[in-house]
Amino acid sequence: MEIIKPDTHIDFSGKRKIAFSISGLMILISIASLIFHGGPKYGIDFAGGTLVQIKFHGPVKIPDIKKGFKSMGITSVTVQVFGDPKDNEYLVRTDKSGITNEGFSDKIKRAVTAATGQEAQIRRVEMVGPQVGKDLQEKALFAIFYSLLFITIYISGRFEYKWMLSGVMAAALMGAVYALSLFTESIAILIGAALLVTLVLFWFLELKYAMGAIVALIHDVTITVGLFSLFNKEFTLPIIAALLTIIGYSLNDTIIVFDRIRENLRRQHKSSFDTIINNSINQTLSRTILTSGTTLFTIIALFVLGGGIIHDFAFALLVGVVVGTYSSIYVASPILLAWQGKTHKK
């Protein structure tokens, strides 16, 4: 069986203007949503607070659950339905921490049972103090930082086999970050700076493949984060894990397309760069769609059947895989082309 016929010739690079506008628009929406929501919405892992998962024996009203918490002196709670509404399961969150002392679950159980008139079962309690929240935030940012660092070093050497250059990259990047770390403690700023330094270095060292890959990667992560913010979903530790996985996955796709481009460059000297890129994407299209397809099968299974706890995690992966596949075709390669066009004009 074949989905993509071998003689498929879709003019991908010809549509790059459309693609760029779509991507640009998506990124704009993402950033706008982030600004509108005042930055990403942190879950209790990062913001600190308490989360209680309660299952009721029968249907209850959300205001009644709130009333139950109010009777214990916990006023600022948000209640949301967890999983399937007919399971009568709810997630209650408050930004207060340190309240889970002596017999907390028992008291909550009694209070909400009394307020709702339905037998309650406390299924999960998570409390993260503000200090730990800050630590976890730092840890997550470090994880993002280091994976970006390693991946940057890897792709800067990988595509054109300039490992010496990659070593220079690494040294320059680490030097810059170290210098900056003397002035600021904010890891978020460090990550931004490291990205900027990377882009500038790629530009001056003319590592065009690496440039295409990293831009695609930033594109994917920005849109995933933006969509999360748009749907008002929370950032937790597993979501960070999903983001890092997306980075790996997106690069995986890009590497395969780029490898084909380089292989075709060696074989077809006479064709224009434009044609080569188009041919390469078309040749790998079948595998790109197949792999994304099988991966999507499994992620959708996880999204639908995996239960409430893993739901957001699966959502992040879902978005990431779709956007990652799109970007390896419509973002990474066109950037290569745009770059090539620039240098040829000179």
């Binding site: 071998p6 280091y146 996985t245 995996g306």
Partner: protein, 512 residues
């Protein structure tokens, strides 16, 4: 290799068949409790200084050094004020002889009054803090061992934090109370010379304090607080205990904790009770009065009992904490994650369900799309999962819910390598190559790309492993195992199957 994997996996499905351990389930799957405690080491420093200042006071009295005042200040210093050269000389001698650890911060003469400020050097303070953390860890481990939790994980995190993982604990409230209790047992006399009501209105006499007895009515759930005016001076602490056991009162059929003092404790207890007959002695645990009986006579046996409307469980747990000893400093819960067993089993069920459905979809798809070769890829996929499972069991890694998600993700991604190879083979076949040549070319050309493409995922997974906690670490483990296993199955296993079919079976046409 496959055989070895199956051997590792066997105990998971059929426990007891093999001496090797089965796959560990994370707290999110089997239920349990994850706690991060902070040992409030500052308090340990404070109490050390408090003790030292008491000792100096006693020593000065013993050596007839007359002093104006000695007190511990809030910033962990001891301030001594005294008059007269003779007293000052004697104090210097005392400090040189018995308190060499103390550092003299300032000495100030105002007329003939000397104000001396002492503190502990940083090194000493650091040592006290470290000792407090170590001792807290030891004490908590003791308590948990006596409570009976299978395979608890208790360790120090950073400088003064303790990470506790109790898989499978059902009564999390009890476990938490047991761990978090400082369990400082003190015997203090009631202040019966002053008026309790006046004290409650704010006129607390110096040297005394108000402590409460808290009782919970088991029927109404209401708490009743009774105030006591208690002298601050501690006569005896739980440090002098030898044993603590649960007993049942034969008259009221109520459990109580009987405690036995060690030799020194027994002597002190006899003296206290002998000197204070007909006075009331408060038994105070963590600043809560448990009872304040009237001393009827001198008690010489070195035994006492703690009563206080306990349930059997409460009495049992109290005996444990008293036996294990007090924490050197109070602890504060910084992070707590409790998962009920029902939620855990739901997660397992849902995780396995999505794994089955997702896996079935992929298997079916590969079969339809690549027919015979798809079957080969599916076999590889099956062994891929076996390898991940074996890896988990072999490395004694923990399987968490995100870990299951990692396996599911791997199923989707693992066929990628085969898809790459198969698409290449198809291309080569289209160019008119023989099946043999097409297979060789397909594998040769795809191998490097596959290796490289997986490196990026591996980088992300390894970083996650380094920085992740608990569940996320589980994800990193299954993802890395999955990537490595898929490389093995796709590049080596499927190739051997193709080789076998093409050379041994002399297959002429390739079903792909």
């Amino acid at each position: 290799m496959i055989v070895a994997s199956i051997i590792y996996l066997l105990p998971t499905f059929n426990p007891g068949i093999w001496p090797h351990k089965k796959i560990n389930l994370g707290l999110d799957l089997q239920g349990g409790m994850h706690l991060v405690l902070e040992v409030q080491v500052e308090k340990a420093v404070e109490s050390t200084l408090e003790r030292i200042s008491h000792e100096i006071r006693a020593d000065m009295r013993k050596k007839h050094i007359r002093f104006l005042s000695i007190e511990r200040t809030g910033d962990n210093k001891i301030v001594i004020k005294l008059k007269g050269q003779e007293n000052i000389d004697k104090l210097n001698k005392l400090l040189d002889a018995d308190y060499r650890d103390l550092r003299i911060v300032t000495r100030e003469n105002q007329g003939d009054t000397l104000t001396m400020v002492l503190d502990l050097p940083e090194k000493e303070v650091a040592l006290i803090k470290k000792m407090a953390t170590d001792q807290a860890l030891e004490t908590i481990r003791n308590r948990i061992d006596q409570f009976g939790v299978s395979e608890p994980d208790i360790r120090i995190q950073g400088t003064n934090r303790i990470l506790i993982q109790l898989p499978g604990v059902k009564d999390t409230r009890r476990a938490k109370d047991l761990i978090g209790k400082t369990a400082l047992l003190e015997f203090k006399l009631l202040d019966e010379t002053h008026d309790l009501n006046a004290a409650l209105k704010g006129k607390v006499p110096p040297g005394s304090e108000i402590l409460y007895e808290v009782k919970v009515d088991p029927e109404t759930g209401r708490t009743i607080k009774t105030p006591y005016l208690v002298r601050k001076r501690t006569l005896l602490t739980g440090a002098n205990l030898k044993d603590a056991r649960v007993q049942i009162d034969s008259r009221y059929n109520e459990p109580y904790v009987s405690i036995e003092f060690d030799k020194k404790g027994g002597r002190i207890f006899a003296r206290i009770t002998g000197e204070n007959v007909h006075k009331r002695l408060a038994i105070v645990l963590d600043n809560r009065v448990y009872s304040a009986p009237v001393i009827q006579e001198k008690i010489t046996g070195g035994q006492a009992r703690i009563t206080g409307n306990f349930t059997t469980e409460e009495a049992h747990d109290l005996a444990i904490v008293l036996r294990a000893g007090a924490l050197p400093a109070p602890v504060k819960i910084l992070e707590e994650r409790t998962v009920g067993p029902s939620l855990g089993s739901d997660s397992i069920r849902q995780g396995l369900m999505s794994m089955l459905v997702g896996g079935a979809l992929v298997v079916l798809f590969m079969l339809i799309y690549y027919r015979m070769s798809g079957l080969i890829a599916d076999i590889a996929l099956f062994f891929n999962i076996v390898l991940i499972g074996a890896g988990l069991a072999g490395f004694q890694a923990t399987l968490t819910l995100p870990g299951i998600a990692g396996i599911i993700l791997t199923i989707g991604m693992a066929v990628d390598a085969n898809v790459l190879i198969f698409e290449r083979i198809r291309e080569e076949l289209r160019l008119g190559k023989t099946p043999r040549a097409a297979v060789d070319a397909g594998y040769d050309r795809a191998t490097l790309t596959i290796l490289d493409a997986n490196v990026t995922t591996l980088i992300a997974a390894l970083v996650l492993f380094q920085f992740g906690t608990g569940p996320v670490k589980g994800f990193a483990v299954t993802l890395s195992l999955g990537v490595i296993a898929s490389l093995f199955t796709a590049l080596i296993m499927t190739r051997s199957i193709f080789d076998f079919l093409l050379t041994k079976r002399k297959m002429k046409k390739l079903s792909i």
